[in-house]
Amino acid sequence: MMRWILSITALLLLQWPISSAVAQAETPKGESVRLEGLEFTMIDEDPTQGNTLRKPKARFRADLADLYEFKGNGIDKEINTKTYTLQGVSGTIYGKDSKDFQLKADKGTYNENLKTITLEGSVIIQSGSMLIKTESVTWYNEEDILVSNSPVLLQNGETQLTAQSFKVNRAEKKIILQNSVGTIKTKD
């Protein structure tokens, strides 16, 4: 497969829907574009702020990114999907009423159509004193939830829990763990 290697530092500002900044990275059919130092910012729709600069919902950075684009015809509409595979990913999901979440992983995938980011490989999520370690997690931007079907270790102060999978609902400030064991400590 032929690859277009662009040795540039790309700064993309992504909005919902994705801004025209992505257009420069459109690829010939079946090929990918490689970007170095890709940084992208996600901005939540917030009509109360009109067209003024809004507080970002999240900001991610990848050491390397490959953009894959697929265009085709579906049953009743044209299909156009854009997926970025990411390497050396780090980022922050900003909190409205809760603390920010810092994320780090070996690699990841950003699906522009689904508006999701999946992180894989030595994933570390940190928020305040809470630390979560797992092998994969997906952030659903619109729902503002983090979901993982991989084993997880959660630490918060003296509290330490392991589980087979988990979901973090940031709006409700809750973590739901499946098949968990461990200790939850009360405050001294």
Binding site: K173, I175, L177, S180, K185, K187
Partner: protein, 167 residues
């Protein structure tokens, strides 16, 4: 010598140092160990919202006072103090509570940590160990977990109570 009593009224057994007790107050609880849980929901501040199909151990400062709780669903409420201390433990479905001296099973149980009271409801079966052993069933059992700890059994036509003095 064994004695068998079929109770027809509310009984109140005043605990002594030799009879079974559940000891608990808000200062004695240090945490909760999850041995098994199908689903656990906790807040970012380590507060338990619920635990389903769980076996958990309520950890006390005195290890011998640790209490094992088995239930279909455990929920917990907290006070508004800065320390956010647990106030109530509410268990629903197939409840069994065990410590070194006592085993009680019921359909539901509510432990009020501030009032030092545990109320077991629905098909309650209990077994108390110690010098004075007792076992039986009732529709409701209330255990006072304070200094003057006692066990109160609600009147029930099917109520049975049996105790044996090992001496």
């Amino acid at each position: 010598m064994k004695k068998y009593i079929i109770a027809s009224a509310i009984l109140f057994l005043v605990s002594t140092s030799t009879t079974a007790q559940i000891k608990m107050n808000r200062d004695s609880i240090t945490g909760l160990e999850i041995i098994k849980s199908e689903e656990t929901s906790i807040t970012f501040e380590n507060e338990i919202e619920y635990i389903t199909k769980g076996t958990v151990v309520l950890l006390m400062k005195e290890e011998k006072d640790n209490l094992t709780l088995v239930t279909d669903r455990l929920t917990c409420t907290y006070d508004d103090s800065p320390d956010r201390m647990p106030v109530k433990l509410i268990m629903n479905g197939n409840v069994t509570i065990t410590n070194a001296e006592i085993t009680i099973s019921s359909e539901t149980c509510e432990i009020d940590i501030n009032k030092n009271i545990a109320i077991f409801d629905g098909n309650v079966r209990y077994k108390l160990k110690g010098d004075l052993e007792a076992e039986g069933s009732s529709s409701q059992v209330t255990i006072n977990m304070g200094k003057d700890g006692g066990i109160k059994l609600k009147k029930n036509k099917n109520m049975k109570f049996k105790f044996s003095d090992k001496k």
